[in-house]
Symmetry: C2
Subunit: 482 residues, 2 copies
């Protein structure tokens, strides 16, 4: 008795006293509410449909990898990798992208050819800018083609995929800039850059989408010790941008002609642009010799898609606005990385790869903004029928109706109150966009029927209890065809 009283008191007070602590998501991360999830599902469906249209399989890998797997793949960006605490056992890190785990997967399973997509979250301890879609936890949607194939055939398909996805998402006009790492390296050689400075000078060029040439030039000369003459030659080349005509012009350039890599790169660019014409996407593709891409592992074609409404505005770092001048318009990027898989193979056996990654967070941000702006009501459930009690004490009848509808694969809800008010139930239908309700009352029970009501038209009709599933399916089919 004493115990029971204590238990009762305890139940009333709650098991735990109220605590004080930060009620928040970790920095740079966010929850998705049901509306955001509905938008996300729509975007993913478009992307996955495209990947499947191109015959891709899908794989998945763990969210963390052995720390050693990620080591030496990301250059300076390695500092952004999340490490797990050493709790005994292996040293682990959260994946930084999906490309390195993919290469590890290929090497580990000795796969020589695969076309796969992988949609999953990756992790970077970067400075978040969440309103612009830059997070510490974010989705990547990767499509890659691994295998020894003929030049530019897989590469051009990756560019085609970007066009299909960005066009179907209807997020505004865009361009895909393309370039070639071999051409860049050959151009650097032609300009007199020492080979051991290729990657660091390439990183400097990569900043051209957010800073002025003058600043990039200063970085090359002052920080990276490049000869000013070489820098100026680079400055001459990085202005080249356009279509096949520009490639032809560069093929005639005497200094590039001496560089085997440059010529190879130009010839591959030419082939890529020709294939893009056959794919009817040439109007979306711009060759741009200033495109460099940050990651070390690219070895051939590189590309990046930018939304035109969100173009980059180079600002001087001196203005203190560098943070604000990031290319917010970049929504997809990728390229060829022929040596990465070999880094995981004991004998260095290579598997050539090319791929593209869709930067989905930026697209989510735009879609969310669009949804808010249009004030369109987004349904977060797919419920088709709501079972309504017209009177008290009909919970058993409701349960039996729900059972019947669920077992007939009709999406059905009901109130979790034993005796809900009719008005509350109809309001729930309306505010949740549930198209039909099935109403049961004493008279319906006596006549072995129910009332079927269309939420929008408010038209009601009696339906025999036995024909209910059939009548609902008929009505739903009609609603869908409207």
């Amino acid at each position: 008795q004493e115990v029971a009283k204590l238990l009762e008191l305890k139940a009333k007070l709650g098991d735990e006293p109220a605590k004080k602590f930060d009620l928040k998501c970790p920095k740079g991360t966010r929850d998705y509410n049901p509306i955001q999830m509905a938008i996300r599902e729509g975007v993913f469906n478009t992307i996955i449909k495209c990947f499947k249209r191109h015959g891709a399989e899908t794989i998945d890998t763990p969210v963390f990898e052995l720390k050693a797997t990620l080591t030496g793949k990301y250059g300076e960006d390695a500092k952004l990798i999340y490490d797990l605490k050493d709790q005994g056992g292996e040293l682990l890190s959260l994946r930084y992208d999906l490309t390195v785990p993919f290469a590890r997967y290929l090497a580990m399973n000795k796969i020589n050819a695969i076309k796969r997509y992988h949609i999953a979250k990756v992790y970077r301890r970067d400075n978040p800018a969440m309103t612009r879609g830059r997070f510490r936890e974010f989705y990547q949607c990767d499509f890659d083609i691994a295998g020894q194939y003929d030049p530019m055939l897989p590469d051009a398909e990756c560019v085609k995929i970007v066009v299909e996805i960005l066009s179907q998402l209807e997020i505004g006009d865009y361009k895909i800039r393309v370039n070639h790492r071999k051409l860049l390296d050959g151009m650097f050689a032609a300009c007199g850059v020492p080979e051991d400075k290729f990657r660091t000078i390439c990183s400097a060029v990569d900043k051209l989408d957010k800073t002025f040439w003058a600043d990039v030039r200063a970085e090359m000369i002052d920080e990276k010790g490049l000869d000013p003459q070489a820098a100026d030659k680079i400055g001459f080349f990085v202005k080249f941008s356009g279509g096949l005509d520009v490639i032809e012009e560069l093929l005639k350039d005497a200094s590039l002609a001496t560089q085997k890599e440059a010529v190879e790169g130009l010839q591959e660019m030419k082939l890529l642009l020709q294939y893009c014409e056959m794919y009817k996407i040439a109007d979306k593709v711009v060759f741009d010799l200033s495109l460099a891409r940050g990651l070390d592992y690219y070895t051939g074609v590189i590309y990046e898609a930018c939304l035109q409404g969100y173009t980059h505005q180079p600002t001087s770092p001196a203005s203190g606005q560098e943070e604000e001048s990031v290319t917010v318009g970049s929504v997809a990027g990728g390229g060829r990385y022929d040596n990465l898989v070999g880094m995981f193979d004991a004998k260095g056996k290579k598997v050539p790869c090319v791929g593209v990654s869709i930067g989905i967070e930026r697209i989510f941000a735009i879609m969310e903004h669009k949804a808010l702006a249009t004030n369109l009501k987004i349904r977060t459930t797919e419920t088709e029928v709501y079972v309504v009690s017209a009177q008290k004490n009909l919970v058993e009848h409701r349960l039996r109706l729900c059972q019947e509808l669920w077992d007939a694969d009709i999406k059905t809800e009901q109130s979790y109150k034993k005796n809900p008010k009719p008005l509350d139930q109809f309001q729930y239908c309306e505010s949740n966009g549930i198209p039909l309700s099935v109403i049961i009352g004493q008279s319906e029970i006596e006549n072995n029927e129910v009332t079927l009501k269309n939420t929008l038209t408010r038209v009601e009709r009696k339906v025999s209890r036995d024909a209910l599933v059939q009548e609902i399916k008929k009505e739903l089919a009609q609603l869908k065809s409207q």
Copy 2:
């Protein structure tokens, strides 16, 4: 020139020397290959369809939470939580389940009522047993109903959902054991267990699905200092198992009748079983007073679904086989947790919740095993058409055909070789189960037509180039209707 030669040499050798390191996934984790992904997609589709049939929305939360968010929620299991390394900034941990992040989400957004599902990976530094589907990284599929409602209405729907999912997955016969934490507590009180020992004695009872009563009794008395008489009384009660008749019998028990909690628990159990009858699932549900469930946070109904083909075989820990005797058959579980959200609210404001978690990894393991056993070929792509060159130098024509088919939303592939052998192309179709091929050769080009071939029947027919999309869609529709 010198540089070019060096570059060429470098390209031949590869950028990096071969390295030696562990080429593996972290302990307790695995990759999913395309076949496993196809199985996984099928299982998820069945589950998501069921959750949507019951009107659930979905949310997502970050893979890691502030460490403080997880603190004090998991009792002894807290030692299994993965912590992230302190790299400056917040202290973070990987989520251990989806329930605590859900409660944090509700409190943070002041949500009083929601019905949501959440499918995502969770992390536990447990001893993995991968062949039996026990991993350190694994999926949970959670469905929860939050809100102040009438007794057992949300609870019974959770049980109904388990039945729908397990029946549709066709993984064998199963039973859902149900019990009630209030009944357990009232029973402990009736047996003379001191209130401060309720949880620890409950943990001991929880082991009854893997060990003999004699061992559990010894643990209660020797380790946990319980009076042997009390232990024997518990031993009497935990044998009760069955349907409404057993509940009625217990309602007549004089010692339980003195315990308000026990009576409340029994009455709720009775109502739950009655609702299960209305939902036509009573044959799957067994009341079992020995079901305890490990987690601290349950406050009401608890349930657990076990496959009958994989029932638990209690073995003595002394036999050294405890590891092997784990209830491998448990594939779903859950219960009511009315106080968890209040732990995150500054004022302790509660949101009653009930939910169920589908243990998907075990189901994957069974489905994978079934797929292997039946030797059924599982397609990992959905490609409908393969574009075939009958001769050399037709790559341009192939590209134009692919463009046309992709833009008409037909799932199309082609070889990435410039001049693939016809035989290789047809073999690709057959081994990948691609139903149709479009063949182009010189005569087809001259007549402005293509050859459309059915892979299975090998029937070929000429189709006008202009009617191609239309003819393919017709043929695909026919194939689907067969």
